[in-house]
Amino acid sequence: MDFGFTREQLMFKKEVIRFARKEIVPRVQEHDLRGEFDVASFRKLGEFGILGLHFPESLGGGGADVVTTVLAGEALGEAGVDGGLTLAYGAHSFLCADTIFRHGTEDQRRCYIPKLASGEWIGCMGLSEPDAGSDVASMRTTAERRGDTYVLNGTKMWITNGPIADVAVVYAKTDPAQQHAGISAFIVEKGTPGFSAGPPLLKMGVRTSKTSELIFRDCVLPAANLLGKEGEGFLYAMQTVEWDRSALLAPFVGVTTYLLKKCSDYAKGRVQFGKPIGRFQAIKHKLADIRIFGEAARALVYRIAWCKDQGRPLNHLEAAVAKLFVGDWSLAVTNDAVTLHGGYGYTHEFDVERIFRDTRLAPIGGGTSEIQKMIISRLM
């Protein structure tokens, strides 16, 4: 066994942290207060090479392996980048762009990947529906084949980047009589007649990412916009789970390191009863719990990433374990961070308040903790 990163990977991580602290973090609080997507920061992620890190250089990517890609996500969290931007990046690069890269034709790859890798275009994925969350097979959105076209009808829900996306990977039933085998994937560009996004939802956290419905009313797509093969959409959607359980969880690991530093600095500077509160054992215990969680989560996340680099099929048990652990345990850690800051932690002046709200999504997004428990217990 070897849990180490290469020298190059560690140097790259430092570079990402340095870049993010300088170029992104200074505006994070302001954008969260306004509930605005920071498009400039998103483009900078593209310019730095993060949005397309794992795509081939020939398509404008960085040619990095999965572990390095996940490391970039951890670095963004460690630098203090907000959960909204890292979520927007995750939905864009892994749920949308990677699905096109993995299952698209050469023409589709050449058309979309360079624009998505650079950040010129923003991508999203439309899978969930108002009445079909974790129960994907019950989706009602249909794609009816009519000659050389497909006609989409239905509504997608909880779509990260929905209102701002230039292109969407959308899942719909080409055979409504079937369950999973009836689902297909499509590429839908903004401006396609019959396709619109709903207004951004007001959310508790990750407020800088824009979330909305995607609405399809007799939306006519050329048959060439089918992604991969008919009836394989569910399989494609499930393949994004590997990224969901590694790259999309990685910022939570990084945030823990950020919180530990933030809380330690506060505890050293805040004096009560004649001494820094960091001298009290109860505060040390809270700091310890933050680190204990972070170290635990790290190994789970990189195990998924490393296995993907080895070309192994996803181990659904290990993936669910990673998601369940990070999702459920991260809440206690961010709660501790707020408590440690006292009244200040309850205000927007200190970003632990935002991090607390951002983290609340962890046990919900990408498959709730309850779904993970269901998967694990069935596989035991």
Partner: protein, 354 residues
């Protein structure tokens, strides 16, 4: 990066399981384990952690007896003893022909934060040792006890024979769990030893000893988790109610999912800490404390949840979950206790750790 054990690692784990199967006492078990290479003092890192986990999952109490003998004392002698000392004690301990004990804890004080009270002073060609040790695993059955104390200003390991004049081993303690593990205090009143029975140490060596002890306790916690989880899982699949196995009910299946999550997370934690310690023991101290807190607390939680799944079947004495539940306090208390470990982790984050 590599998250896999090697084929050789897995072969060793299986050999350890086979060697331990059906053997109930240290005199019988130690030589059988020696034959597999498990007691080799050079064994380290993730290979050792995986092998310890394999043994601990069969019998956590017996595992602790093995480790306190051959691992802690045997490895200290192999690493820091003179050639003569390695030949005299190290080899028999590694071969499993002698049972050893390591006396580290001091009566009435925390060895993590205070200097050792057990002291020796030079007397003629040897030393005269005075002190009192508590909670010494294997003390009632050991052929040799390695007593950690100070010789003048320097830490040292004093090799004391079971029948040494001045050594009194108290009666074995009755304990909450770890059934069958002999633990006792001992007093050393003017115990005279020749210089050849003294291994001079440094303060760094003491840190490493504590790290090894914590690693052993982490592995014990993994074993308790594995045993409790296996019993609960098997029961939940076999026991039926309402026409279905109870694992099919979310109140049971979800509990098992949480237990398995804790167990897998603990395993990775333990392996990673062991890997880090193999590279740089001093730098890995913090990660090892983190792993110890997590894994040992998870053991209690997993065992407790297992009992709830098992119902009355788990409440009966003798089951793996019942034993794990009672034993899970031991690894939290022994070594660097959970509370002290959290303070140290916090101190490290704050830059307060010296």
């Amino acid at each position: 990066m590599n998250f896999d054990f090697t084929t050789e690692d897995r072969a060793l784990f299986e050999a350890v399981r086979q060697a331990a199967a059906g053997r109930e006492g240290l005199p019988e078990l130690l030589p059988a384990l020696a034959y597999t290479g498990y007691l080799n003092p050079e064994l380290s890192g993730t290979t050792l952690m995986g092998a310890m986990e394999a043994l601990a999952s069969l019998d956590p109490a017996l595992f602790l007896g093995v480790e306190m003998s051959a691992r802690l004392l045997g490895r200290a002698l192999a690493r820091w003893g003179s050639p003569a000392q390695r030949a005299r004690w190290g080899a028999p301990l590694a071969q499993g022909t002698w049972i050893g004990a390591l006396a580290l804890s001091e009566q009435g004080m925390n060895v993590d934060n205070e200097p050792l009270a057990t002291q020796a002073r030079r007397e003629g060609d040897g030393v005269r040792l005075e002190g009192a040790k508590s909670y010494v695993v294997n003390a009632p059955v050991a052929d040799w006890i390695g007593v950690v104390g100070r010789l003048e200003d320097r830490p040292a390991l004093f090799m004391v024979a079971r029948d040494a004049p001045g050594l009194t081993v108290e009666a074995a303690l009755r304990t909450l769990g770890t059934d069958g593990l002999p633990i006792a205090g001992l007093t050393l009143a003017a115990v005279r030893l020749p210089a050849a029975q003294v291994v001079l140490l440094t303060d760094d060596h003491l840190e490493v000893l504590r790290l090894w002890e914590n690693q052993v306790l982490i592995a014990a916690a993994l074993g308790m988790q594995a045993a409790a989880l296996a019993q609960a899982r098997d029961y939940a699949k076999a026991h039926r109610t309402g026409g279905r196995p109870i694992i099919a009910y979310q109140e049971v299946g979800f509990k098992l999912a949480e237990m398995l999550t804790l167990h897998q997370t603990s395993q990775l934690y333990a392996y990673r800490a062991a890997w880090a310690a193999d590279r740089n023991a001093k730098e890995a101290q913090g990660l090892t404390w983190c792993a110890k807190v997590f894994c040992t607390e998870a053991a209690e939680r997993v065992a407790g949840e297992a009992l709830r799944i098992l119902g009355g079947a788990g409440y009966q004495s003798g089951g793996a979950a019942e034993q794990a539940y009672r034993s899970a306090k031991y690894p939290q208390i022994a070594g660097t206790s959970t509370e002290i470990a959290r303070v140290k982790i916090g101190d490290e984050a704050l830059g307060y750790l010296n």
